[in-house]
């Protein structure tokens, strides 16, 4: 009895500590973004704001280059996602349905691509972007992000499409559909949950990416939010504008979190089940 009580207490204690550790940074970000700047560096630290203000948000949203970077992020993350989905659904269909030489090898090379540390390919990407003349453009980032979004989408969608019975393809063939029409009218509608899940996760990954974005952009023209926020500067070089940084971070995090929560069920469904039963 006592042992049970103890183990229960321990369980909830561990849970609480874990949750606290995970959630505190978000709490801290939001709280700090709402504090007037005077309170930010006050000692003792105030864990609960004494006074709430939206000044930081006003400052951030009035900053033209930050607003531009949000737009850039949408273009880059959206572009990488759409391109990845378009290419990976075709690739996944081929990998799931056709027998061809080197199919397993292809699958593992694709998987291997996504295991490289970013820093390992950074130099190559930089040189490539300069050579292609796309340095500091959306294309530099979109193409780079596809290094990790594409393999992920291909793998998840391949296993997803394998779950769709291939007699459906045969029925459609006999109904007169070409391979394109089968993909477009039968497979993609049925792989919907998989597309939503992989698309969303790709979008979030691209949205949050920092290292490539820092290296492959030079200015506002293509710079995305994480880099823009990191490069916020204060009045002097010794002062970090924490208020602005936290407000900007909140502005760009909240939509992504909402998106993830909204589609949470679809994501789990999409990643765990084929969801097509006769």
């Amino acid at each position: 009895m006592i042992i049970r009580l103890l183990s229960r207490t321990a369980f909830y204690l561990i849970l609480a500590v874990g949750l606290f550790y995970i959630l505190f940074p978000f709490y801290w970000m939001i709280v700090n973004s709402l504090k007037p700047s005077a309170e930010l560096f006050a000692t003792p630290l105030s864990y609960w704001p004494r006074q709430l203000t939206l000044d930081n948000y006003r400052a951030v949203l009035a900053d033209g280059s930050f607003v531009r970077s949000i737009f850039n992020s949408f273009v880059v993350a959206g572009g990488a996602t759409i391109l990845s989905l378009a290419l990976s659904s075709m690739a996944a269909y081929a990998l799931a349905r056709y027998r061809f030489a080197g199919k397993q090898a292809t699958l593992y090379i694709i998987l291997g691509m996504s295991t490289f540390p970013q820093i390992a390919v950074l130099g190559g990407l930089f040189t490539l972007a300069r050579a292609l003349g796309i340095y500091n453009t959306y294309w530099a980032l979109i193409l780079s992000y596809m290094i990790f979004t594409l393999p992920f989408c291909v793998w998840v969608l391949t296993s997803f499409i394998k779950e769709i019975p291939d007699t459906l393809d045969e029925a459609a063939t006999i109904d007169g559909a070409s391979a394109w029409q089968i993909l477009w009218k039968v497979i993609i509608p049925l792989a919907g949950p998989g597309l939503v899940a992989t698309g969303l996760l790709s979008f979030i990954n691209a949205w949050n990416e920092f290292l490539f974005a820092l290296t492959l952009t030079a200015d506002n023209q293509a710079r995305t939010v994480p880099v823009a926020v990191a490069l916020f500067s204060g009045q002097s070089e010794h002062e970090l504008p924490w208020g602005k940084i936290t407000a900007a971070s909140t502005v760009v995090t909240v939509p992504v979190v909402l998106l993830a929560l909204m589609f949470q069920k679809r994501i789990v469904e999409g990643l765990t089940s084929g969801a097509v039963k006769g």
């Binding site: 007699t167 045969e170 029925a171 459609a172 063939t173 006999i174 007169g176 559909a177 039963k277 006769g278």
Partner: protein, 364 residues
């Protein structure tokens, strides 16, 4: 409306031949059934006709046109699959209309054809339902509907009823037969159920291990099976087989299987005279055995011990023992049969089938 010809068709996976040297003429308007045990190559044959599987050798002709190199969608055939293969994201109407839409039929034409098919199959009230909202029988009817709206030259069915329960199967069987009578289109139907084959087919093709065993009308296969395999496959309960030896002189041979003696005359006697090792297999259907003294009982009589009795209702299947061999007899229920007792049975001489003991080929 079309005939289908297979000429020397072969299919193999690697070194393994799935279908061997198949020759088959399917007549215009015929209901041809391909039947055989699991893995004998029925589906493969059907899929080669459909164009879902390419062939390694030979020719396939539909309506006298060589279709070896013609894609499935251009062969003007429709196919009904075992697991229905309905598109889960489309409703019943869309499922049936899909093939016509892909072929760019005008909207009104599609609508009238689908509605006509829905009428024939009593699907009128279900057109807005998704496949998962239908029962098994309804799904199968939608799959039939999807095939008939196309008005194809040939219908292909791959065990369309095997996912249904017994009662529904009987009902759908009648429905498909009625459809055939109404449309008069050539149909090729695969099943492993010999009752389905017997009741539906104009002609039946019995296959085994990639080879055609016999082609013929249902009654022809039943009364004159070409070999022991066909004899055992067609008809329930299964035909009895007894090992028999040939005794007596060549002028008056007698087949002896335990206590059973079958004297042979004329053509039969001549037919077995070619057998070298004096052995053959004797076959007789359980329904051809009668109790001595009852109508139909023939001059060939023997005594047998009763092992077990299965009561089916109007008849009973009596498992009997004849020396070291076992047989089954289908007898009227009023005949008193108790395990452990002996029974006197009789049969007509021409109810017996004689097969080569090694090759199984029918001799007479």
């Amino acid at each position: 409306m079309a005939n289908v010809s297979l000429r020397g068709v072969e299919k193999s996976y690697g070194a393994f031949k799935i279908v061997r040297q198949m020759d088959l003429e399917i007549h215009d308007g015929e209901f041809l059934v391909l039947v055989g045990p699991s893995g004998c190559g029925k589906s493969t044959t059907l899929r080669m006709i459909a164009g879902l599987e390419d062939i390694n050798q030979g020719q396939i002709l539909i309506d006298d046109q060589l279709v070896n190199g013609v894609a499935a969608k251009n062969r003007d055939i429709a196919m009904v699959f075992q697991n229905y293969a309905l598109y889960p994201h489309m409703d019943v109407f869309q499922n049936m209309a899909f093939g016509l839409e892909l072929r760019k039929f005008p909207k009104e034409e599609i609508k009238s054809r689908v509605e006509q098919a829905a009428d024939i199959l009593a699907l009128g009230d279900l057109l807005k339902r998704k496949p998962k909202e239908l029962s098994g029988g309804q799904r199968q009817r939608v799959a039939l509907g999807r095939a008939i709206v196309r008005q194809p030259k040939v219908f292909l069915f791959d065990e369309p009823l095997s996912n249904l329960d017994a009662q529904l199967r009987v009902q759908m069987r009648a429905e498909i037969s009625r459809l055939h009578a109404q449309l008069k289109t050539t149909m090729v139907y695969v099943t492993h159920d010999q009752v389905e084959a017997m009741t539906m087919g104009t002609r039946i093709v019995v296959m085994k291990g990639g080879d055609v065993q016999q082609v013929g009308a249902p009654l022809e296969l039943y009364t004159r099976p070409a070999n022991r395999f066909v004899a055992g496959f067609i008809g329930t309960p299964q035909m009895n087989f007894l090992d028999a030896s040939i005794e007596g002189g060549t002028d008056a041979p007698v087949l002896v299987a335990e206590a059973l003696q079958l004297p042979l005359q004329g053509a039969m006697a001549a037919a077995i005279s070619g057998l070298k090792d004096k052995r053959c297999t004797l076959g007789i259907r359980p329904s051809d055995l009668h109790v001595v003294g009852t109508p139909g009982a023939g001059p060939i009589t023997f005594e047998a011990g009763i092992d077990m009795v299965e009561i089916l209702g109007a008849v009973q299947v009596v498992h009997i023992r004849l020396g070291g061999q076992t047989m089954r007899a289908e007898l009227p229920i009023r005949v008193a049969c108790k395990p452990g007792e002996t029974i006197s049975l009789a049969a007509e001489p021409d109810a017996f089938h004689i097969f080569d003991a090694t090759s199984g080929v029918a001799i007479a």
